[in-house]
Symmetry: C2
Subunit: 129 residues, 2 copies
Amino acid sequence: MKEKELRRSQAVLPIGTVMKLTNLSARQIRYYEEQELVIPARNEGNRRMYSLNDIDKLLEIKDFLADGINMAGIKRIYEEQAEKQAEKQAELSKPLTDEDVRRILRDEFINVSRLTKSNGYSFRTNRNL
Amino acid sequence: MKEKELRRSQAVLPIGTVMKLTNLSARQIRYYEEQELVIPARNEGNRRMYSLNDIDKLLEIKDFLADGINMAGIKRIYEEQAEKQAEKQAELSKPLTDEDVRRILRDEFINVSRLTKSNGYSFRTNRNL
DNA sequence: CTATCTATGTTATATTTTATAACATAAATT
DNA sequence: AATTTATGTTATAAAATATAACATAGATAG
């Protein structure tokens, strides 16, 4: 899914297109940017360029507003989302626990023993790996 | 997949974006249009608006040209493709053969008999459907 | 109830992007 | 050698966008 994500995050749409796709006014779109909710890329000429992900987020904001949630509320929602994302990310890049290490080593040895099952080599053979 | 097709054929990209995504010059893109290879939509202000499908086609044209095929050759390729598409379409909208009708009717009756299997109703029950 | 704030509209001005069209040209074709 | 093809370049006009300021209905606070 890496490539799809890339496509979805490519800033290729000018604000006029975004207005049509979202039915938001330029004023609204720029205001949400001012509120730091959707910050588009800029091209060489300083024109805002939006990605499909930006479109999704704008539509989401529109829904939140229609539900009576105000800017402050929407900001909070995204802050919390960002936190959760950060946690998940931290989890992924956290160093291995001793438990993890033991499990992984055990699995390693299982594989090795499979490879060396009937060739007469013992586990000691793998000290150099 | 209907929705995906729709998205891919939505004309949302201005020529500047297309230039970047394809590495073609505006001159080239417009020339291929003049040659009736890729005819973009126009917005209210007469600006060309391209779809993802248009991008694909432009990249394809670029490849053909790199392979030494000239405009005439490329046009021919697309004409043939269009023919094949038309045939396929014709096949789909062709009226049913007698054979088709018999098969469909048989299947209908199988379903009906399933529904009425153990409720004492005979086939005649379904005359009103 | 009045004052303030929020979210958005409107207008003006400057800059960027695009459209069209004409002229130019290297490379391929005739 | 003349013509055609595919593309570059330049000029001009129109459209889209950026920024910023002023305006305001409705919500919120004092």
